[in-house]
């Protein structure tokens, strides 16, 4: 399904988050959306409000779940590595995996399963090949700590760090089609040399 690019007027875009703004342009109106690791539900709330989506969230944190319910978001307590169990094939038009891929125990299995229950998958992740991370690693020999990768090694939830080129190669290997690729640096979209200059990549992929 091609990105809609503002077929529905965005009425309530009260978010500073560039990743949410980008995802809002990737989702078609009135579609069914599953957000894995939906946090406080803000993204689903924005999607529901602006694009009349029907949404479901999965989240592990109890307080975040409470906030989802306050926003009227349907949310299930669950961990992402097993949260998709029971959903039937093609239950959703879009599955969203934003800022969660790198924290998964079994990212390959989850992506495959996400593309089973969803026709499309939106994946957003921090780019480990961002030039400042490369410089830190190259110059100091230490594991990089950057705004998009803000954790020291001993407290990081990230299990599988990856780069934009890694993800593209993975999609090619698995035969997933990339429908849209968007890149962010310092809260702004960029296009030039993303693997070096982007802090974040957001991909829309399909089977």
């Amino acid at each position: 399904m091609p990105p809609n690019n503002m077929e529905l007027p965005i009425v309530e875009l009260q978010t500073e988050r560039i990743d949410y703004r980008i995802i809002l342009t990737l989702v078609a109106p009135k579609s069914r959306v599953l957000d894995m690791g939906c946090g406080d539900g803000e993204l689903l709330y924005l999607l529901n409000k602006n694009l009349e989506t029907r949404s479901q969230g999965i989240e592990i944190d109890h307080e975040q779940i409470m906030q989802c319910v306050e926003r009227g978001i349907n949310v299930l307590l669950g961990d992402l590595d097993s949260g998709l169990t029971d959903f039937k094939d093609n239950s959703f038009d879009y599955v969203i995996l934003n800022n969660a891929l790198q924290e998964l125990r079994y990212p390959d299995d989850v992506i495959k399963d996400a593309l089973r229950v969803g026709k499309n998958l939106i994946v957003g992740f921090p780019n480990f090949a961002y030039y400042k991370a490369r410089l830190q690693f190259f110059l100091s020999g230490r594991t990089p700590v950057t705004p998009s990768l803000p954790f020291a090694w001993y407290e990081s939830p990230n299990l599988h760090l990856l780069t934009i080129e890694d993800f593209k190669a993975y999609c090619a290997e698995r035969g997933f089609r990339i429908l849209s690729e968007r890149y962010v640096r310092n809260q702004k979209e960029i296009r030039f040399r993303p693997n070096l200059l982007a802090q974040w990549g957001i991909f829309l992929i399909t089977r």
């Binding site: 529901n48 409000k49 009349e52 989506t53 029907r54 949404s55 479901q56 109890h62 779940i65 409470m66 989802c68 319910v69 306050e70 926003r71 009227g72 978001i73 349907n74 949310v75 299930l76 307590l77 669950g78 169990t85 029971d86 959903f87 039937k88 239950s91």
Partner: protein
Amino acid sequence: MSNAASPEQRIYTSLRTFDFPELKLENGEVLNEVRIAYETYGELNSARSNAILIAHAFSGDAHAAFYHDGESRPGWWDSMIGPGKAFDTNRYFVICSNVIGGCAGSTGPSSINPATGAPYALDFPQITIKDMVNAQKLLVEHLGIEKLYSIAGGSMGGMQVLQWLVSYPYTVKSAIPIATTARHSPQQIAFNEVGRQAIMADPNWNGGNYYGREIPRAGLSVARMIGHITYMSDKSMAEKFGRRTKPDQEPTKFHADFEVEGYLRNRGDFFVRRFDANSYLYISKAMDLFDVSEGRPLSEKFYELEAKLLVLAFKSDWLYPAYQSLEIVSACKIAGVPVTYLEIEAHYGHDSFLVETETQSRLVKNFLARVDAAE
């Protein structure tokens, strides 16, 4: 449990009744001259669209909230029902009725059998959760309500919630099954059976014919004691009693040395005064017989649902463990029913649904406020 309101803050309520000529039962029998005892809280709006049905648990009754004249304790879920509370009576019209088979105003084994003029005792037919729900449906219709804004209940109340969804899928806009199951496990049946055996082993039970004579006090009391153990958790018992001993010891062997023993005896004694032993047998059997999907996958029963669900379990509840709630969640996932699920971190065991009100209140209140919101 619920913080008692000072006398001037108290809202008073009283039991009402609804009589109807007959109820066709699931087993083919017909119950004649049926009475349902119920209470309501708040006002039904002109569109009749703000009604919420509360279904009570095994030993509950219609008195879910507010105060009865002359009583110092409010209804059993007063912490959740009232102005500004989770089930906000400023917004919603809340109904709670005593189940068929009960002993708190609705027709049950202690009621007079119109055919004989004597109490039914064991001539009372074996009722089921479905029969309870069918009776509630008649009450709801009698109150002029076509569609319920929500239906909620814990434990056996949650079973009734599930049965409503399956029996009357188009009449429910939202549902809140709490600490419940789509069918009783062998362990749950086993505990109920021990309770029933305790009652039937009491000579005063007398084949169910004890009305107007000595009641099976000891048996019913033991049944309740077993129940109470299963409603608590190891942790909540340790916190509540520890190994503290009772100071007021009777000079007999096997008296209540420990506080926990004294507590259980008290609960048993208290229960005997308000609950009918035959109702215990009938209702506990109705729970054991319950299988809302009748041996089929639960999801098959959920495809027609228009409701959204809030499913709640409690981490320390070992009598109705979270896996049973997750089975309900699974069915929603398969059938595409919008669902919210949380396993609440409360340590009171199965009793959590009555005792833990902070997280529950927040979730229920916000969930109800958004029932009409787009998904």
